[in-house]
């Protein structure tokens, strides 16, 4: 051993080599490589960088306090919502709508251009192998990157503009905005601002009505289930809130939004009369989520 027995001196070894460390700081290889005013990472530089971090942290906090994270309404497969991904996927989403990146050419869209673009980004160092580092001295790599950036900005902007137009054209308001407005209304009235949990079941109105039998006979139960709660089709409990008798009759006769086929002939073949169907529609129209007494 390198030290005398009984010595109280602390021995510092370097790595695993069991070589006694010499006096003074041993500069790592990269320390002297750059002449100039280098400074220690800890604590000098890290404290300065922490100041930048604090500015960013304050920025995030201001953002979170002024703009609460959006939250819409609970997921419902039969809701009509224009799908939109998070903003940083918009360019990809819009790109895959282009004629030569969708439909019959979808493979070109997903694997072809996207695959080549991301693949070459991943392997950039092996494609751009020259020793020149300045971006203006490697025009091919730089111009490809500038082109991609321009495309990303253009596609993101187009996607967002189209989404806005579509929302305006269909008269839709983003659900998080709707929810926030409702919460503000409730707050103003001193009610709880969170929506009540949607656990209250809507009851079937006039369960003993003969229309219930007609409902089962006409084949409605195949999609809307025997308890009206819906299966492949939506729940019919409370359907009277959104459709009146005439509306329901026309849905039975003509189908609904290409989602439900016309069921009139099926019902007639099952032995129902026009009168039965009329009564069924009337009964369905009575299915309100809350019966006003």
């Amino acid at each position: 051993m390198a030290h005398k027995d009984g010595s109280k001196e602390k021995i510092v070894y370097v790595g695993d080599s069991r070589v006694r460390r010499g006096d003074g700081f041993i500069p790592p290889a990269d320390y002297t490589a750059y002449p100039g005013k280098s400074e220690a990472f800890i604590p000098n530089f890290l404290l300065k960088e922490w100041m930048v971090g604090v500015v960013v942290l304050v920025g995030i906090l201001v953002l979170t306090i002024s703009e609460p994270a959006p939250l819409g309404f609970p997921a419902n497969a039969s809701a009509t919502v224009i799908p939109v991904p998070d903003w940083y996927f918009l360019f990809l989403y819009q790109y895959l709508k282009l004629p030569y990146a969708s439909g019959d050419y979808i493979v070109l869209g997903t694997l072809g251009v996207t695959g080549v673009a991301f693949g070459s980004l991943l392997l950039a160092p092996f494609l751009d192998t020259g020793s020149e580092r300045r971006f203006y001295r490697r025009p091919i790599a730089s111009s490809l990157m500038f082109l991609s950036l321009a495309a990303i900005i253009y596609l993101t902007n187009t996607a967002w503009t189209e989404y806005k137009h579509e929302m305006a054209a269909t008269g839709q308001i983003p659900e998080d905005v709707q929810r926030e407005e409702k919460a503000a209304e409730n707050r103003a009235q001193g009610l709880p601002s969170g929506g009540a949990a949607q656990t209250k079941e809507i009851a079937i109105v006039d369960k003993e009505d003969p229309a219930m039998a007609a409902y089962q006979k006409a084949g409605c139960i195949a999609c809307h289930a025997a308890d009206l709660k819906g299966a492949a089709g939506p729940s019919l409990r409370g359907v009277g809130d959104t459709h009146d008798k005439e509306g329901i009759l026309s849905i039975i006769k003509e189908g609904y939004n290409n989602k439900m086929p016309p069921m009139y002939d099926t019902a007639i073949n099952a032995g129902l009369t026009d009168q039965d169907i009329d009564h069924l529609a009337e009964w369905l129209a009575k299915q309100k989520s809350e019966v006003v007494e």
């Binding site: 510092v12 070894y13 790595g15 700081f25 290889a29 990269d30 320390y31 490589a33 750059y34 100039g36 005013k37 400074e39 220690a40 990472f41 800890i42 000098n44 530089f45 300065k48 960088e49 930048v52 960013v56 942290l57 995030i60 906090l61 979170t64 306090i65 703009e67 609460p68 994270a69 959006p70 939250l71 819409g72 309404f73 609970p74 997921a75 497969a77 809701a79 919502v81 799908p83 991904p85 998070d86 940083y88 996927f89 989403y93 979808i106 493979v107 997903t110 694997l111 980004l121 950039a124 160092p125 092996f126 020149e132 580092r133 300045r134 971006f135 990157m145 998080d176 969170g194 949990a197």
Partner: protein
Amino acid sequence: MFKNIYNWIDERLDITPIWRDVADHEVPEHVNPAHHFSAFVYCFGGLTFFITVIQILSGMFLTMYYVPDIINAYASVEYLQTKVAFGQIVRGMHHWGASLVIVMMFLHTMRVFFTGSYKAPREMNWVVGMLIFFVMLGLGLTGYLLPWDNKAYFATKVTLEIANSTPVLGPVLKELMQGGDIVGAETLTRFFALHVFFLPALLLILLVGHFIMIRRQGISGPL
């Protein structure tokens, strides 16, 4: 006293070299904004890590309230948002941080690209960095579904349709992520598992690799 504790541990584990390797290095002038203001572009990597730490911390607190099943997911998020003390702040930090981490990472990638810092001998670090980028995008994608509101649900449906359209691998990938025939209960638990366990684990491994390589190779020299 702390010095004695440190020495006691150091005598047994020889931790000084590890600590020296992490902390004891110099920052060259050309990346230090205190000397050249334009060097602020070198901050983006550190800021990406900083926001990643915020994401991990805020995410850990979110899982104290979040329930990954389709009956309660939305209700738990709403409860967190409206009832829990500072819940809105924590969820807000996670929500906005998710966007900011993409922004910072993008700026960091652009800095590395336009300063040509990915060139020899740092090729492997660039590849690892790009993998980190992809993992982050995956985290954004899986996290988007978790509040289980309509926006999340329909966006995920479209995403899975797009995944499905990839030849050969697509349908397998879709089924793996969706966990069934429809976007439903299984999808939510799978996205939760990916978002909270698989992808963060992968991210941490990649980050360790990224940082070890930076320490080994040092920062690329001035242009």
